[in-house]
Symmetry: C2
Subunit: 203 residues, 2 copies
């Protein structure tokens, strides 16, 4: 089903565009498009309108760069959040994941990616300068680095740590170790090794 | 990640619409939508335009009901195809699958579904009347039933067979048996049983 002939150019184009989405092959794209053809026209209109509106009208918070419908996002404008703690994350999916834990009451700073020379992403492509400004304003007690535990996430974390080293701000990072419910036998050596080195005293 | 708060109503709506597609959960929908946000706005415009145009401008061939950009589809209007053979299929994906084999030179008839009382689909909801008309015109030598080998496909096949029983047309169905490359040990009992009953003489 790789380069088969479609009997309709309209279908061909729709499947081609759909298949550009990550993780969507041509077979899946055809299934999704055929589904839309089987639904009332209003279903396709609702989908395309929501995507167009999101893409053209979306805003990013001027302080933390989280996705937002307003200039200042709901978290930054919430007076009951602890404005003295900033959690630095890679993207808005990380914000959602942390919000879902219900364990965090501070603010965020969304970098919009991580340093990745392979992909041509340098520090200047990320929201690092605005983070330094927020910290330099002196209203911040703690910066939590909550980047993904990858090579790029670690590199980005080290870079930010170095740039903030002159500031009198406490810097922390998410704890690494065994997942809740993990079995030692199945944990990878890196994780098990780290959780041994960073062992926690029993109080 | 089920009913988390999105920081943007626009994002919430786009993810909700995307997640209505079959096989797309909210997590995948978010990933796809975030991908579009990371691409130039033209990418979203190209996707939504292609879907809107397909949904509003698509035509179905007046003879075989295959999807088409023209009144009469490319297969029906091709003079080198054998117009005396009609292959009856459930949907246009079946047409593509058969075309991809390169083994068929006749025409098609797309039913638009199969009889399924559970889903409220009766013979009147399918393109069966127009198939009877095509056969009654007397220009057809053979009708090949190429429905999916499911309960509903079989029911639909029996129904069509009965409706065409008075006509002097040869009726055939796709052969069932072991897949090419199958191992007897792993074939299901139904398939192995049928392939034994319908064993082919060695010539």
């Amino acid at each position: 089903m790789n380069h088969e002939q479609f009997s309709s150019k309209l279908l061909e184009r729709a499947v081609g565009e759909m298949a550009k989405l990550p993780g969507v092959g041509r077979r899946t794209a055809l299934r999704l498009v055929m589904h839309l053809l089987g639904q009332p026209a209003t279903a396709t209109a609702a989908l395309t309108d929501s995507l167009n509106r999101l893409r053209t009208e979306v805003k990013y918070c001027r302080v933390c760069h989280n996705i937002s419908d307003t200039d200042l996002c709901e978290i930054c404008s919430n007076p009951s959040r602890d404005a003295r703690t900033i959690c630095v994350v890679e993207n808005i999916r990380s914000v959602m994941a942390i919000e879902n834990t219900g364990q965090y009451r501070g603010l965020y700073h969304v970098l919009g990616g991580v340093i990745s020379p392979m992909d041509g992403v340098g520090p200047g492509d990320l929201q690092i300068a605005s983070l330094l400004e927020r910290v330099a304003d002196g209203e911040v007690d703690e910066v939590i680095l909550a980047l993904n535990p990858t090579m790029e996430g670690d590199t980005t974390g080290f870079y930010i740590q170095r740039r903030l080293s002159g500031q009198s701000v406490k810097m922390t990072t998410l704890a690494r170790g065994l997942s809740v419910g993990d079995d030692l036998e199945y944990a990878d050596e890196m994780t098990l090794g780290r959780s041994l080195v960073a062992r926690t005293p029993l109080t």
